[in-house]
Subunit: 341 residues, 2 copies
């Protein structure tokens, strides 16, 4: 059974296509009688306007595209939730593409989405892209009437609206917290420098240390390269018995949980021997024993803000060229057992 079109209705009722269209829009220039007749017929056959035709006509898709590195990831799925909420409120739909942390796939996705499939784009950069430092595929976009909002993993080289977590301050406050509960030797488990969030969180960590008159020791900083075993790299930090940290800040939940597990296996107690605090307030932190203190990033809020920024940009009159904006989502310290001395 084919979907019924406006044309079918017109033919069946012996009136013109335009009359049907107007009748369905309840325009007063069509006689009430005709309007009723058309509506009845349309309802009877479950007429639904073909959205492709509508989009082609109006040159609006009412869809926003999201390109993220990963979806099996608590933070990103929260962001999507936030985006979806805002988008749906304004009758927009969401189309999701995964880059799987690959530059090529990211580029492909963006190309795919910008050939008229979506009205705007929300992107969080893949690790490979950040490492390559190549953003040509995103720079062009502005020329093509496709607004772009970057979130979380962003780059200064791209001129557009952005939403980021206040990473520096989050890490700073987490480190301060460790200092306040009496930690003397605070280690950092982070990512390589090309990941912007890792770098920023490291900066906050260093700032807090310096401010309290402590040295930043390289032995206490692990930059995890995910090409190799995460576990082994973290273990190095905890196997150096001469120089064991008594506090750890990890830039994500997995690293924090991993560190905790290794520490416990070595017979250390948390938080007495080592206090641990992570980033990303997910389920792991809540359910681990002891429960993990974290810096909550409010992914949902971030998604909401990113979507709002994008929709504003999509619906702004072309004439008004608002300056690009960077929204900063502040973090919250979620203190749990792993730092309760």
């Amino acid at each position: 059974m084919k979907n019924i079109t406006i044309k079918d209705i017109a033919k069946e009722l012996g009136i013109s296509i335009s009359t049907v269209s107007r009748a369905l829009q309840d325009k007063p220039e069509i006689s009430l009688e005709t309007r009723k007749k058309v509506r009845a017929f349309a309802d009877l056959y479950h007429y639904m306007p073909n959205s492709l035709a509508l989009r082609l006509r109006s040159q609006k898709t009412m869809i926003i595209g999201i390109v993220i590195p990963e979806i099996v990831h608590h933070f990103f799925s929260r962001v999507i939730s936030g985006v979806e909420k805002v988008a749906n409120e304004k009758d927009y739909n969401v189309m999701i593409c995964l880059s799987n942390e690959s530059y090529d796939k990211e580029k492909l996705n963006i190309k795919m989405l910008t050939n008229g499939s979506v009205d705007g784009l929300l992107v969080s950069l893949s690790k490979e892209t950040l490492k390559k430092n190549d953003y040509e595929h995103l720079k062009n976009l502005s020329n093509y009437n496709i607004p772009l909002v970057l979130f979380d993993r962003v780059s200064d080289e791209i001129n557009c609206d952005k939403v980021i977590v206040d990473d520096v301050s989050g890490a700073y406050r987490a480190t301060r917290h460790l200092i306040e509960i009496g930690c003397k030797k605070i280690a950092l488990i982070t990512t390589p420098d090309h990941i912007s969030v890792g770098k920023l969180r490291a900066a906050g960590y260093k700032k807090a240390l310096k401010e309290s008159g402590r040295a930043v020791e390289n032995d206490f900083i692990v930059k995890v390269d995910e090409q190799f075993s995460v576990e082994e790299q973290i273990a190095v930090l905890l196997n150096n018995d001469d120089k064991l940290p008594d506090g750890i800040l990890a830039v994500n939940e997995i690293y924090a949980a991993r560190a905790m597990k290794i520490a416990k296996e070595k017979g250390l107690t948390i938080p007495e021997d080592i206090a641990i605090i992570g980033f990303t307030d997910g389920l792991i932190s809540e359910f681990s024993t002891p429960s993990l203190s974290t810096v909550a990033q409010h992914g949902f809020t971030m998604g909401e803000h990113a979507a709002e920024l994008l929709l504003e940009r999509i619906n702004q009159a072309d004439s008004i060229e608002k300056n690009f904006e960077t929204k900063i989502i502040s973090t919250d310290l979620r203190i749990r057992k792993s730092t309760e001395k």
Copy 2:
């Protein structure tokens, strides 16, 4: 700057639209000279065919829609990953809608997607829909040329392809495992009966008990109603000191982790006092202490199969009416510390 169209190229080069179209398709009936000229011009101005126009013309969107209850959920995000992989391999895109476990939103989403936005639909039913037992919004679909594949949360009332986890056998084997390690009093933490997976897992649990000659005791079965505190409902099971279970099967990771936490707080040791096994092999299970044994559901595989089934249905000649198929994804027992006596 507007996107350049085939029309613009034609005008600029002083040839007809159809010639440009054919030249871009490298059709031999167009002279090599013209083909080269057109291609060069198109490349210069970064011509990209407007996908809306293509879709309207071809009556194919190359998009598949997914409606799931939740995205902040390890299992569902894995499913999506699997779907995305298969879809992308065949040049399809994925459009995701969240029902947030609401019947109305599910209905709305499906309506939205089936007005020509997608070529096919992948749906996992919301809790509210299952409770209401109303599937009219899905039954119509078959009439409208929109193939439908249900996954995980399905219903017998809907006649279509399905992909489900082998819940009965998974729960059966998990329960057998508890019996084998010596548990005498095995409890079940599950969902209300209208959630199909909960019901099936309960069936597997009961089957294993009966087979080994044990009675199924209602005191040992908790049906968690998420309208109320999950924690309190689980606590009831563990607060009845006269009748404490020594083994627990939970139908998901959260319930298992929650039960473990409560048990530990009561001073019970896992697995010695109580062995615990959950469903869904996610991060919580891996990182909890002790690590949780689980029934792994292979969400990614499920997504792959669902997408394959759907694409087959989309691309089948209308004449060949294949019978509907139900694929069963088998589970794996992942034994960890929480059941190692």
